[in-house]
Amino acid sequence: MPSTNDAAPLLEVTGLAKAFPMRVGRHKQKVPVVEGFSLYMQRGESVGLVGESGCGKTTVGRTICGLYERDGGTVRIDGHEVGASREDEALVHKTIQMVFQDPYTSLDPRKTIADILAEPLKVQRLAPKDQWRELAGKAVESVGLKRDCLDRYPFSLSGGQRQRIAIARALICDPQLVICDEAVSALDVSVQAQVLNMLADLQAKTDVAYLFISHDLAVVRHLCSRIVVMYLGRIVEEASTDELFSHPRHPYVEALLSAVPEPDPQRARAKRRVELEGELPPLTDLPQGCIFSTRCPFATKECLAARPQLEECAPGHRVACTRWRDLQLKGTDELVEAIAAPAAPAAES
């Protein structure tokens, strides 16, 4: 095992597993919600984590940053394997911060913004008390707000401003990785654009890495250079963003790309959709063989025989599908079949 090592990736997760107690028939038993999750991240990188509701994205985020105890697998930070000791716990807190979806409930309504931002400094003893206010002031400025909001309460801020405060709180301890769990999903398009630009600016300045959890593929495409797609608690495909959008290898990913509505009427009309049958199977009753086999348009006997493991189909491109070699799947541009050149481009102004 290497100890802390600059050449090692910032974060390396292998075989992460998490189970929750769930009712199965009449009994409660621990059901795996995430299994075999592996991920590495470099400094300053943005990785997107996408997948249907309930596929385990939040669980992955919370388990990586230690909010949930993991049931299996290893987490390494700069090559150092994170164990259960207090020092390791402190290392995780110092390195990784999480921003949650809901800007309305994630901030304590009884505290001023200055107090909310001082909290992590206090808990982690990162700075003496007389510096808290100054650091809080810098943090709100870094997310594009004015210092005069420090004495206000969360309820007096808009949703977008609150989400910026949540991000400022994550950034105040100078983390190397921020896990953003649907951090812009509740925001209006215009405010969302402001926050996305701000995240990109911060990354350019500080080299912070983002694990960006979202169900919005257009947003993920914009911010992330690499994307991991989950289905029922497992990674089904991982690739660079451009590769994933142009050459998906997993039938679920093709279906997902085909379902994203195109904000362009001509492309929208020409787009072909790959339909998925049935519902997401319950975690308590996973399909035999490939976990996607119950809904996959290409499933054969072979797919039901054994569960396909993630394998590398091209450099940096991993897929868990028995048939990836013989399937010819379409990327977003191919799904939009040959269309006439768009009419007049967007008008003057």
């Binding site: 209006d188 379902a259 009427p265």
Partner: protein, 371 residues
């Protein structure tokens, strides 16, 4: 609720149905003119919807877009006469097949709702009663509005649950809302709205909480309803992708007013209002270069109590001129279905009948250009 007894409903029904006019395909089914909604507040009343006018034609899907707080939901709640109690429709007409809904007695309006007119609300959690099974909630609507009972009603319900893509629809009938996932609940709500085959279906952000694969299914379903049955749909969404995929025509709302309207191609390819341009520029897309910064619209949606004097968009508009801060722009006709409420159209010398109106702020959209 007070008029819920079946006998009353049936009596009112026949009289009302006789008064409804037949509307040919492509003709306006709903004509809203000068709709004004006022908030009654202790500190004084103020308007949140300012003289909005639009048509919904038979067999079309009309999209409504705009940022949060622009008045999309309130406009449509006013049409359905389901405004919150501190709000009131204080002006305008809502002509549905020749009957002014704004002046219809409440008991008649109850007959219309759920039968001819149906709305899927933004908040899916409040739309289902947690104490009753999915089946009993669907059957109530079907028995009341379709006059089908017993096995026949059940078949209709099961059929619609299947159509919204729910697996094992028979089993779903006997389940309670809490036994279903959020996505499944939302599809049940949509099935209830569709099962009486409403002539006009109003959907308020019905797919925002859904996964893209399920969202695509619901959009297909709404389009099928319109294509096969010739029904009309109003679809509120802040997702430009959904609007481009689904709609025939679009109205763009800002600050309680309609600022641009047109066919979906007008709005996306011949974008004229700076607000519409701004909305399109701040959305990440699926094609083209990835890493270019987005262009957010600066500032925020105005507070309805502190509306700017002139154009509501003026404080955020990159093209704002002197006149914009002084007078509310009239609506300029850009030909066909396309119209835009912006002084730039006058500055550009856009031809159109409203161009001749003296440059005095008058009430907006007294007559929508395509009425």
């Amino acid at each position: 609720m007070a008029f819920g007894s079946k006998q009353t409903t049936a009596e009112v029904d026949t009289a009302l149905v006789r008064s409804l006019q037949k509307v040919e395909a492509g003709q306006p089914l709903l004509q809203v003119r000068d709709l004004t909604v006022t908030v009654h507040a202790r500190k004084g009343d103020y308007d949140v919807i300012h003289g909005v006018g639009f048509d919904v034609r038979t067999g079309e899907i009309l999209g409504v877009v705009g940022e949060s707080g622009c008045g999309k939901s309130l406009t449509m709640s006013a049409v359905m006469r389901l405004l919150p109690s501190n709000l009131e429709t204080t002006g305008g007409t809502i002509a549905y097949r020749g009957v002014d809904l704004a002046r219809l007695p409440e008991r008649d309006m109850e007959v219309m709702r759920g039968g001819d007119l149906s709305m899927v609300f933004q908040d899916p959690m409040t739309a289902l009663d947690p104490l009753y099974t999915v089946g009993s909630q669907m059957l109530e609507t079907i028995e009341r509005h379709l006059d089908k009972h017993g096995q026949e009603a059940r078949e209709v319900a099961v059929d619609y649950l299947r159509r919204v893509g729910l697996s094992e629809p028979e089993k779903r009938m006997d389940q309670y809302p809490f036994e279903l996932s959020g996505g499944m609940r939302q599809r049940v709500i949509i099935a209830i709205a569709l099962c009486c085959n409403p002539s006009l279906l109003i959907c308020d952000e019905p797919t925002t909480a859904l996964d893209v694969t399920i969202q695509a299914k619901v959009l297909d379903l709404v389009r099928d309803l319109q294509r096969q049955m010739g029904n009309s749909v109003v679809f509120i969404s802040h997702n430009m992708g959904v609007i481009a995929t689904l709609c025939d025509r679009v109205i763009v709302m800002y600050g309680g007013r309609i600022v641009e309207r047109g066919t979906v191609d007008d709005i996306f390819y011949r974008t004229t209002h700076p607000y519409t341009t701004g909305l399109l520029a701040c959305m990440p897309t699926l094609e083209g270069p990835r890493e270019e910064p987005l262009v957010p619209i600066p500032g925020m949606v105005p507070d309805p109590r502190k509306m700017p004097l002139g154009c509501p968009f003026a404080p955020r508009c990159p093209h704002c001129m002197k006149v914009c801060r002084q007078q509310v722009p009239p609506e300029f006709d850009l030909g066909g279905d396309h119209a835009c409420t912006c002084w730039l159209c006058a500055a550009r010398g856009t031809s159109g009948k409203l161009l001749q109106t003296p440059a005095v702020a008058g009430p907006l959209q007294k007559e929508a250009p395509h009425a």
